[in-house]
C-alpha cells in the first residue's frame, strides 16, 4: 500500500488523495482568456521532480507535494502557506 503524508492528517493511504495538477503561477483574474486556457489545458508534463497540488478527499484539504514523477517517490509534502507566500 502506498502512503502519502498529509500535512494536516499525517500518513494516509494514497487512495484517499486526489491529484490536482502541477503547481504553476495562476493568471490574474482579469488576464486574457488565452492565458487562462494555457493555464488550464497546457502542461509541461516532463519527467523529473515536480511540485503538485493534492487533495485529501475525506477532509477536503488541499496541499502541495514534491514528487519524482518518473519513480513515483513522494519526497515531501507542504501546507500551501509554507510554499506560496
Amino acid at each position: 500500500m502506498k502512503i502519502m503524508n498529509c500535512p494536516l492528517n499525517g500518513p494516509r493511504n494514497i487512495s484517499e488523495f486526489a491529484y490536482g495538477g502541477e503547481v504553476k503561477p495562476t493568471p490574474d483574474a482579469q488576464a486574457p482568456t488565452q492565458e487562462w486556457a494555457d493555464y488550464v489545458y497546457y502542461h509541461a508534463n516532463q519527467p523529473g521532480i515536480l511540485r503538485e497540488w493534492w487533495l485529501h478527499v475525506p477532509t477536503s484539504y488541499w496541499f502541495i507535494a514534491e514528487r519524482d514523477v518518473t519513480t513515483d517517490r513522494i519526497i515531501a509534502t507542504f501546507k500551501p502557506e509554507e510554499v506560496l507566500r
Binding site: 487512495s15 491529484y19 482568456t33 486556457a37 509541461a44 508534463n45 516532463q46 518518473t70
Partner: protein, 412 residues
C-alpha cells in the same frame, strides 16, 4: 538423424529476414518519423505507398512496437459519441477490414461484437444518444435491453441482486480485435520494401531549430538533417515536443491491463462497462484480456500495481462471477498521453515543418491505420485533411474541445 532435419540444419530452407539489416544513418532525410510504434510505421508505409515519399527514416529508441502498440488490449470499434470521432474511427475500421490483404500480412482482424453495458437510466440515455450519432454516420450500433444482452452474451451475470445490475447495452456488432504487433510488423515490412529506413535502438534526444523550423534531429547515433519531422511517440509526446519548445495539452498517465490463464472458449463478445471501469474479452489463446481506467494520477514511467488488480476484479466478479477461481497470468502497463477532451492531437504544430500525432491516451490502437494514412497525407501535402482539422493541437486555446465521452468511461 532423419534426413529432413539435416536438410534444415544445413540452412537450405531458412525463413527470409523480415526487415533488411540496419544501415548507418544517412546525413539527412526528407521526412524523419520519431517513434516506431504502429502509428509511426503506418505513416511511413502510407508516405511511401500513397505519396511516393521514400527518403524516410523511422527512429525508434527501443524495438519496433515495443511501446503501447504491443501493450494494448487490441480492441477496435467506432461507436464513439462525437461526429468528428465517429467519422474518424469509422474510416480506420474500413482500413482494418482489408489490412491483412493490403499488407499481405495476417493481422488477425476478428469481428467479435462489442457490448457497452449500461447499469443506470442515465447510462441508457447516453447509449441512445451514441446509437443515434453512430447510425446517422453509418456505423452499426444499437441499444439493446437486458434480455438481448443475455442472449448475445450468455456468460454475463444478469442477476438484479448485485450493486450495479445490467439494464441494457450499446451493441456494436462489428466491434473487433486485431493482433497488435502484427499491425506494426506488417506496416514495417512493407514500408521497408518500398525504401523506408527503420532504425531501432535510435533515440531522439533533441532538435536543432532555426527560423521556426526543425533543421536537424539529434539522436544517440548522431545528428541527421530533416525536411520534415513527424512525431508519433504516444506517452512520450510532451517530452519529444518539449525538445522543439512545443507545449502540449497532454498529461502522461499509466494504463494497466492483465490476462488470465487460458480457459476453454466461453466468451464471444467484447464486454465493456463504463460505470464499473472494466472491460474483458477472450483471446484466440483462451486468455481473458482485462483492463480498466487509467491510474488515478500522472506518472512518466509505466508500472503495475496491486490496487489496479483489486479494483478491477471487484467489479469484474459482478459481471462474470466464475472468474473468481481463475488465476491471473500476467499484468503490465503502458503510458497513456491523455488530453482534456479525450480526443487526439493531430496535424501541424506552431513550427513550420513539425507534425504531430499524439493524445492517443487509451484509445489509439484502433486508429493506427487512419492515423498513418491521414498523417502521411498531411505531411506530404502540407495541408491538414478535413477529417483531422477538429483535432488541431491549439484547439484548447479557444476552448474548442471535442468532448469524446465515448472514450472517457473506461478508455478502450
Amino acid at each position: 538423424m532423419p534426413l529432413v532435419l539435416i536438410k534444415h540444419a544445413l540452412g537450405l530452407s531458412r525463413p527470409k529476414r523480415q526487415l533488411p539489416a540496419q544501415k548507418e544513418l544517412k546525413s539527412s532525410y526528407d521526412v524523419v518519423i520519431v517513434g516506431g510504434g504502429g502509428h509511426g510505421l503506418a505513416a511511413a508505409y502510407y508516405l511511401a505507398k500513397d505519396w511516393g515519399v521514400t527518403n524516410v527514416a523511422v527512429l525508434e529508441k527501443s524495438w519496433l512496437g515495443g511501446g503501447n502498440t504491443a501493450r494494448n488490449t487490441a480492441i477496435v470499434r467506432s461507436n464513439y459519441i462525437t461526429p468528428e470521432g465517429v467519422r474518424f474511427y469509422k474510416e480506420s475500421m474500413g482500413l482494418f477490414e482489408t489490412l491483412s490483404q493490403d499488407l499481405d500480412f495476417n493481422v488477425m482482424y476478428t469481428k467479435r461484437g462489442h457490448l457497452t453495458l449500461a447499469h443506470t437510466d442515465a447510462a441508457m440515455r447516453t447509449m441512445r444518444w451514441r446509437a443515434e450519432v453512430n447510425k446517422h454516420l453509418g456505423v452499426q450500433s444499437e441499444v439493446v435491453d437486458d434480455k438481448d444482452v443475455a442472449r448475445i452474451e450468455p456468460a454475463l451475470n444478469m442477476s438484479r441482486a448485485v450493486r450495479w445490475p445490467i439494464l441494457g447495452a450499446l451493441h456494436h456488432p462489428v466491434g473487433a480485435t486485431a493482433r497488435h504487433d502484427a499491425v506494426a510488423w506488417g506496416y514495417a515490412q512493407r514500408a521497408a520494401e518500398m525504401g523506408v529506413e527503420i532504425h531501432q535502438g535510435t533515440e531522439v534526444t533533441g532538435f536543432e531549430l532555426s527560423g521556426g523550423k526543425i533543421v536537424s534531429v539529434q539522436t544517440t547515433r548522431g545528428k541527421v538533417g530533416c525536411g520534415k519531422v513527424l512525431q508519433a511517440v504516444a506517452g512520450m509526446s510532451s517530452k519529444v515536443a518539449g525538445m522543439a519548445g512545443v507545449t502540449l495539452p497532454i498529461r502522461t498517465i499509466p494504463l494497466q491491463a492483465c490476462v488470465s490463464q487460458p480457459l476453454k472458449p466461453f466468451l464471444d463478445t467484447i464486454i465493456v462497462s463504463g460505470s464499473l471501469h472494466c472491460y474483458i474479452w477472450q483471446s484466440q489463446r483462451g486468455e481473458c484480456v482485462m483492463g480498466g481506467a487509467v491510474d488515478p494520477y500522472p506518472l512518466q514511467a509505466p508500472r503495475s500495481t496491486l490496487d489496479f488488480k483489486e479494483g478491477l476484479m471487484a467489479h469484474m466478479l459482478e459481471l462474470i462471477p466464475g472468474l473468481a477461481d481463475v488465476p491471473l497470468m500476467r499484468q503490465w502497463a503502458g503510458l497513456a498521453d491523455m488530453t482534456p477532451d479525450f480526443s487526439p492531437v493531430m496535424g501541424k504544430t506552431s513550427l513550420e515543418n513539425h507534425y504531430i500525432d499524439a493524445g492517443w491516451g487509451t484509445w489509439g490502437f484502433k486508429a493506427t491505420p487512419v492515423c498513418g494514412k491521414r498523417m502521411a497525407e498531411c505531411v506530404a501535402t502540407e495541408k491538414v485533411p478535413d477529417i483531422l482539422s477538429a483535432f488541431r493541437f491549439d484547439r484548447f486555446k479557444n476552448f474548442e474541445q471535442v468532448g469524446e465521452a465515448g472514450a472517457a468511461s473506461v478508455g478502450s
